[in-house]
């Protein structure tokens, strides 16, 4: 089985950068670049298979996409079970545009030429689930329009050289009902259509079990699962899908032991039998301080090395 590793989502800012953003320091832009370089270099040194822009300039996972035509910025709302908040997208008109937004945070000049690149996009259904709708008469039109806009983003990312797109879909864990699952599936199909990029749909902040059998049928290459939420998945087989296993806990400062990460991954793989395996954090590392995120990436790399040695 092929295996590798990557990180996704927003990486925590260093205390120096936090301080600079608070003071709106004149050299803020260069500090962001400097910090991105360090985090990218850390990923390379740790031996991760795909290298990501750390997205430290994103305010939340939806914010860049609020610039799509039709969206307005709404109230603050809690990000699932976290004490961190996002601005609710408000659909005040038909959603249009897309194609340049994710690119503003894909620092192509900083990413290494020697390694494949990875980028993040939100799952269209999740965007709609976390939005307020003041325009669409039916939700299906809303989801489809968001999917089309995000598909333009995905195409641009592919054109710029991205090889893997992590699609963040926490809201999918909460979908109950075939109609909505069908809608989510259709949206993913629009997002991925005609592109030669690996798409991994990450499910976190919830229990994936009720939806997993349906999602295994989605038009994607693999599924990201939080290893803390995979209890009770006996009986599921990944089939032709890969697994991005969230085996590094981004919700706790306790440092995961590489040998334990590996043994947990093996145990889960023996049940789910994925086509390929990526070791990942279970979600964005921004929920732990910068120093701990750094340590966790190092441990992730060490775990990957153990797997390689074996």
């Amino acid at each position: 089985m092929m295996f590798g590793s990557y990180i996704g989502g927003i990486y925590p800012r260093s205390e120096r950068l936090i301080d600079a953003t608070r003071k709106n320091s004149p050299n803020l832009k260069s500090l962001f670049v400097e910090e991105k370089k360090k985090i990218i270099s850390l990923q390379v040194k740790a031996g991760l298979s795909y290298i990501s822009d750390p997205l430290i300039d994103w305010d939340d996972m939806l914010r860049p996409f609020l610039r799509l035509e039709g969206f307005e910025q709404g109230s603050l709302n809690r990000i699932f079970e976290k004490n961190t908040f996002y601005r609710t997208p408000v659909a005040a008109g038909k959603i249009r545009g897309g194609g340049k937004l994710a690119l503003t945070s894909l620092s192509t000049r900083l990413l290494p030429k020697s390694k494949p690149w990875k980028a993040d996009l939100p799952d269209p259904y999740t965007v709609v689930a976390l939005s307020k709708n003041l325009y669409y008469k039916n939700r299906k039109d809303f989801v489809i329009d968001v999917a089309k806009a995000l598909a333009r983003e995905a195409r641009t990312l592919e054109n710029k050289g991205v090889k893997l797109i992590q699609v963040n879909g926490p809201s999918l864990c909460y979908v109950r009902g075939k109609e909505d699952l069908g809608l989510a599936k259709e949206a993913l199909k629009i997002l991925t259509k005609g592109l030669n990029v690996k798409f991994y749909l990450h499910l976190y902040f919830g229990n994936p079990k009720p939806v997993l059998s349906d999602i295994l049928d989605f038009h994607i290459h693999g599924i990201g699962l939080d290893s803390l939420a995979v209890d009770g998945l006996k009986g599921f087989k990944m089939g032709d899908k890969g697994l991005a296993l969230g085996c590094v806990d981004a919700g706790n400062t306790r440092i995961d032991r590489p040998d334990q990460i590996v043994s947990e991954a093996k145990k889960i793989c023996s049940v789910l039998e994925p086509r390929e395996l990526y070791l990942c954090p279970n979600y964005d590392l921004e929920y732990i301080p910068h120093l701990y995120a750094r340590r966790k990436i190092i441990k992730l790399g060490e775990a990957l090395n153990i797997l390689r040695d074996e």
Partner: protein, 339 residues
């Protein structure tokens, strides 16, 4: 005349002015001078709240670094780590729990005594509750999360509340912004609250905010809470249209649950959004209050406050918002008295 209706109160923190921050960060200034500077700010905050027309005041948490950090610095078992985003460029410092938590000292007692010497109005002391303290920390010590929460409730918060009551505290607000974070833990949250206030002979209120689900997951467990008042955030999710109808007052739909369950307790009504600089008009504040009165049916149950602490806003805006709340309250009171 219903004079005692719609009392205006603050929720907690106010932004610290630049002069205080510079003083606190200056290594050449003595601890005594720094303490005096904090005391000065506490005095200013209390007086400005009273001038703004508040009926119930505190000191804007002038003596605390921040609601969470101040508490965990004064409880054994915690070790502060780094900064975590709350939203945008707003961050707070989180702590690891590396040992059994324990009560070291009544860390709010001195500030409480000091406020009572300054304030001419009623005093309500805000205290960070056990559930939030646990939820905002990285638990590396307790095998079970609930053990950490109950240790904080029983071993730290409860004895501290009792000491405050002994010192004369009449109104105590437990701040539990994390209450709605985990929808399946509402029972645990309620039990922890009740353990915290067990045997505490004072009016206890709870402040909850930024629920992603409009507080729905707290019901019906929230009805078992041994508190007198629920001080909640609403304005953040409301429209800016004037009106005392459901469409204009979308942000206040959660009030219907209190009515549906026939819960008779007070509501601390969030009428001002603390995350925007817009200083709401007295008329919109009036309508928010009157809508709550229409739903709940009893004006004496309604207290009026900002959605949350105003520390995210500049001091000028914060006090302007508080003044507008008082003005809006006066308009609402006039309407009710004319009925």
């Amino acid at each position: 005349m219903k004079e005692s209706i719609f009392k205006v109160q603050e929720i907690g923190s106010l932004r610290k002015p630049e002069w205080l921050i510079k003083t606190l960060r200056n290594p050449n200034i003595s601890q005594e001078t720094k303490k005096a500077a904090r005391d000065d700010l506490a005095y200013i905050n209390v007086k400005r709240m009273e001038e703004a027309g508040l009926d119930i005041v505190y000191d804007g948490e002038a003596r605390r670094t921040e609601m969470y950090e101040y508490a965990v610095r004064n409880i054994s078992g915690f070790k502060l780590t780094g900064w975590i985003r709350s939203w945008d460029n707003k961050y707070y410092r989180k702590a690891r729990v590396i040992d059994k938590v324990g009560y070291i000292k009544p860390y709010y007692l001195d500030e409480y005594k000091s406020v009572t010497e300054i304030a001419k109005k009623e005093v309500k002391i805000p205290i960070t509750g056990p559930y939030t303290l646990a939820d905002w920390s990285y638990n590396e010590y307790y095998p079970k999360r609930e053990d950490l929460i109950f240790d904080l409730a029983k071993e730290v918060i409860n004895p501290m509340l009792k000491e405050l009551v002994s010192a004369g505290a009449k109104i105590i607000q437990l701040d539990e912004p994390a209450a709605t974070t985990h929808p399946n833990e509402s029972k645990l949250f309620v039990e922890a609250f009740n353990q915290s206030v067990k045997g505490v002979k004072a009016k206890t209120t709870v402040h909850i905010c930024y629920s992603g689900d409009n507080y729905t997951t707290l019901f019906p467990d929230i009805l078992e809470m041994k508190c007198t008042q629920f001080a909640l955030e609403f304005a953040n999710r409301d429209t800016s249209k004037l009106g005392v109808n459901r469409e204009s007052r979308q942000g206040y739909s959660a009030l219907e649950a209190f009515k549906e369950y026939n819960d008779p307790r007070e509501i601390g009504l969030g009428v001002s959004d603390v995350h925007v600089d817009l200083i709401e008009s007295p008329e919109i504040i009036r309508d928010r209050i009157l809508y709550a009165e229409k739903i709940l049916g009893d004006p004496t149950r309604i207290y009026v406050n900002p959605d949350c602490g105003l520390r995210t806003r500049s001091r000028n805006i914060a006090f302007a918002k508080l003044s507008r709340i008082s003005q809006g309250r006066d308009l609402a009171k006039k309407e009710i008295n004319q009925q």
